[in-house]
Amino acid sequence: MAIAFGALTRPQAGSDLQAPSRHRTIGIALAAAGLMLAGVALIGSIIAGDLAGQADAADRVGSLGAWTFGLTTAAFGTIKLAIGLILVGIVRRIWLRVESVKAALPSLLRAQGGERGALGEYESEFGPATATAVAPRPLLIHRMAGLLWAPMLAMGVMLVYAGFLLSLGAAGNVTADPALSASQRAWVQGLQFLGEGFLLSGVSFLLGTILGAIRAGGGEVQESLSLTVRTLRMPSTAKLFIALMMAGLMVEIAQFAGYAYIATVPASADYATFSTWLGPLREFGLGLLLSGIVLALATIAKALGFQFARITQIITSGR
């Protein structure tokens, strides 16, 4: 399985550099489709908001509210899947760039290497780094990320769309069986936001895979030239990213449990009370995941900066 996912993110040597990224094209098209779904849901919301002030329209407002919620969240899920596809494209391009650096660098050196530098830990311009004789092994988190991004995205999409289908059922039952509809709406919210949590976790694991590719690629290039392998140590932003991602996912699992509970008591006071705070809770969980993603992107910027500085150093000093 890990090998299969590895083939998805690392193209074979000799792949066409000129060819535009298919992941990029499909990702943009999917994101546009998601935006259109959200536009349809917006129209439904405008109609529901207009009806809300009218007498005897409560059922229609409830029905519109049920399916527009399901459709909007499905739209978000579709766009997040698109982002995931684009990130896969980024990982593949990073590996193609590694191949290019390996091929070009020996011809670009402007000085002889001389003696190797000292091995061990040191403080670089970009933070703590290590100098080793060979490329360091991938970190556990990078191996996990390479293994888990695809299952997370797949589960996320399935849950989000299962929730959307259920929202159609809930919309249809608003008049005929209000208790069943309320129960179904609770399941919809729980399922879809668990799905959103999985999708954002998949995106986070892809960002971890990008960081792993930058680290491993940098090591491969330096080792191929028999140079001291200089590698940035995991920055504090990366550690915080992992913590926020885990916390966000746990909150999404907790909100799912909460909605699963109130789905069993649709006509009770508990339903009204719980659903009032479960809404903000599920959004708080997504907020944690998104905050982690910001830190992952900041870490990628730092790792790329370190890598450019190292390539420049190799060209000018030969070591």
Binding site: A31, F76, I90, A272, E283, L295
Partner: protein
């Protein structure tokens, strides 16, 4: 500075490595403050939700429950607007690192320095991000105004509260969808920058040094 005749990429040629452009410099400065703002807003939104939930459980004041039903989402979506802005700025920062680093490598190698001009996806990223921010903030401001009006005793605002809440929710959601698409376009721009770098690196050995 002149324009390169390359047919595959729109590049500019310069004597020295170019630094980050204006959006990239803004991204470098603003990603962290935006993240801090988001991290502060999310717990406030959650706390308002919990307070409202307690009022619902105790059959509390209907006007206060309705007002908090507007103010809670307003706080939460200030957080979402901020965190999406932070993500966008962090992507711009990555693009800035790629632009500056790519130039520095070519300069160090003594070859002609080619820098990718901002692709169309990059422009679309900035435009859609700005629109999405305005749409989300429009929903947030609407919620805040109605919430404040209800707290101030405006019976009309209380009467229209449900309908307005549905509208503002729809507006905020489309804003989020637009922001997510903008982020996708920003990431797509990174792919293009990496593709250019991979190709440009292969060209360098065959070129004469300056």
């Amino acid at each position: 500075m002149s324009t390169s005749p390359r047919s595959d990429f729109n590049v500019e040629i310069s004597a020295r490595a170019l630094g980050p452009n204006v959006p990239q410099r803004i991204g470098r400065i603003l990603w962290a403050p935006m993240l801090v703002m988001a991290v502060m807003a999310f717990p406030i939104g959650l706390a308002v939700g919990v307070i409202r939930s307690n009022l619902v459980a105790m059959n509390g004041d209907a006007a206060m429950i309705a007002a908090l039903g507007h103010l809670g989402p307003a706080a939460m979506f200030v957080g979402f607007a901020a965190v999406f802005a932070a993500i966008s700025f962090a992507i711009a920062r990555i693009l800035g690192v790629l632009r500056q680093g790519g130039g520095e490598v070519q300069e160090a190698a003594g070859r002609a320095i080619q820098t990718l001009r901002m692709p169309r996806t990059g422009w679309a990223f900035i435009g859609l991000m700005a629109m999405a921010m305005m749409v989300i903030l429009a929903g947030v401001v609407g919620n805040a105004i109605v919430g404040a009006a209800i707290l101030g005793g405006d019976a009309g605002a209380l009467g229209q509260s449900e309908g307005l809440a549905i509208w503002f929710e729809g507006i905020r959601r489309i804003g989020v969808a637009m922001y997510l698409v903008a982020i996708g376009l920003g990431l797509a721009t990174i792919i293009e920058a990496l593709r250019f770098q991979a190709i440009r690196l292969r060209e360098l050995p065959a070129e004469a040094t300056r």
